[in-house]
Subunit: 215 residues, 4 copies
């Protein structure tokens, strides 16, 4: 593997700065977290997008959130077929092993993945339909959402699909037997949010997703 | 969907605090990032573990890192089989659409996923071998790493496997034709790190992973 | 032009070292920045003084800061008179073309330009009053600041004038219609700092400059 | 002045990191530099562009370079007219007060200012011809350079104009009596460079600018 490169120097410098300040000031907490194991209160599923920072938005410190990030914050349906499902593995670990109390799906505006899904489903991006397109196949998860927004005025569809990316994920979460059981027994609560990355607002789904209200 | 709950109040309060301070102070930057699109310099693949905060460690702000987080920071091999591959979709989007310059895999010590893989491969966790175990099937990705550490002294195996979780991912990354092409043309560099979450140190792989050096 | 000399060898050597290390490790990022254009987040106005390194202080890498450096980090008032205004051109380019989100004026202690201005205004440096003194005419921009500090105890005046060099610049920035409009619409924020070059501390102006607080 | 904002938090954090590491390790040097005054070996004139980092390229530490940065690294002709000339003030201070041994003008490829000048002079950017355009009036300094490149093949003109931005500045430097005197007495040497920001190469002007050679 001659493919590895040393870390860019500016990151090395910043890391040394973090080590000498944030780490040094909190080393006892970091050591305790390491020795006693994590015990996060919530799992967050959000997008890989560089503009979405749930730890900042919620002032979360090390140890608080178990965070899975993928393209468009999607959860696939329950499929115990023996194949690799990274998102399902993260959910299983959070709910079964860590027993998180909350599971929060955070969508966001201007999502490239959602825009791609809209283009694909409306026929504008045939390359995403190809079998070899990982993004296309991943965004297939959101097709049921597209069917629910396709009759809206054209200018409203993408924003509606961003919300569907959260609602479809919540629906799919409930197909996992251990998620459903934990929700029904009151051990786990599900939360659906969309972050407007320009205005910094947070919309929360109410009434099963029929209304979105700014919190 | 009567399954949705309102956000816990402590998170709502922290969000309002963030909105009135960090957002307000940077609203011009957030709006600009929203309007002009993200242009992250690097993709980071790290673990969902609540104790791993790469944005803190590297002093990164909104817009800098495109971040995929899954159990044990794993990358599966290239498999354009038309099935859903969330990790591969994130890598495809980062390298092909966003054209990130760096791809950094950040492992960490005390990783529950790696410990589970070690238990599974050494016969101590038969439940993870079941077809229905999402965590088990996901950790199958790391089996080639287990084969390389199983003859080490028992007390060294898990730590070695944590490093293998990064090295196997780097190897698998190179099986993606578009990753290999970008690395070979000098448009993308790969970086392999392990974060000791107790001591706050960062180890970097050198010589193709034969040596790990504290930076 | 027989006036050109080859670069001193110690600089050539250091350059070759940089090229083989920092550049080589980051060539993908440099090429991407070159091809896609810069998109700096902030403009920094600081002094030419060799002891002021804002990129180090803020861990900034290539592409982050658009930096104008002049004697005493001064901004003249808005004067669209058709004459050459290098500082105004830099501000216009940063705000109008690059649409930076932040404009940070960084003053510093032990500033030779500020000391010269104090000497000139207090009658101790008549040579700076001459029409042919470029430094003197440039420091005229700071005369309104001198008027605000001249009644302080003598030993406090120069330090106060160093802060005035930042505050006068902020005041003058607000006389540029496009700066004022961007600030008022929330697209641009202004920041006033003084760097103590001996102690490495950073003072930030609060309450419109009536207080300076160590950050 | 209700216009001031607090520094974005990510910069505050990075600053604290710098203070605890780079500053702490070098505090004796910083204090000595502060107490004894700067004694830089060279003045550098370079562009404000965020992609041009002469201190990195030349491995320069605090105290080494007196740096003036403006749009397109331009020096106007000597004009002791009693008006404000920020660039001329910086040159006067460096040569007369600090007695630097080298004065290095560093141009660069993909310069937005040079591209704007080319557009203006070729009739493609009438808005830059307006009296109120600070960028346009500043780029007037480079008009003599445009006259020398305008008969080249169209695709070569901008790159040639980037080099002219350095050569015109060197010519104008020699119109300053104190610069000419210092050069002729051997106390000051002038250097003309262009940095290719994509490839990291440095071109040096030889034979009075008739040839540019990679160093």
């Amino acid at each position: 593997m001659q493919t590895l490169s040393p870390l860019p120097q500016y990151l090395t410098k910043r890391y040394h700065g973090w080590k000498a300040t944030s780490y040094a000031e909190n080393s006892s907490w970091f050591r305790r977290l390491a020795n006693e194991g994590q015990r996060p209160r919530a799992m967050v599923i959000s997008c890989c997008d560089s503009r979405v920072h749930v730890t900042s938005i919620f002032g979360a410190d090390s140890g608080e959130f178990f965070i899975h990030r993928n393209i468009a914050n999607l959860v696939p349906p329950y499929a115990p077929d023996g194949l690799q499902h990274g998102t399902s593995a993260a959910i299983e670990y959070a709910v079964q092993a860590l027993k998180v109390a909350h599971l929060i799906v955070v969508g966001h505006t201007r999502c490239g993945g959602v825009a791609g899904c809209h283009a694909m489903c409306s026929g504008a991006a045939p390359e995403l339909e190809e079998k070899t397109s990982f993004v296309g196949r991943w965004m297939d998860i959101l097709r049921p959402g597209y069917d629910r927004v396709k009759d809206l005025p054209a200018e409203d569809q993408v924003a509606a699909l961003e919300r569907e990316a959260v609602l479809v994920s919540i629906e799919n979460l409930m197909t996992f037997p251990f998620v459903r059981a934990a929700v029904e027994s009151g051990e786990l609560s599900l939360h659906a949010l969309v972050n407007d990355i320009a205005e910094g607002t947070l919309l929360q789904a109410e009434e099963g997703g029929r209304r979105w209200v700014q919190i």
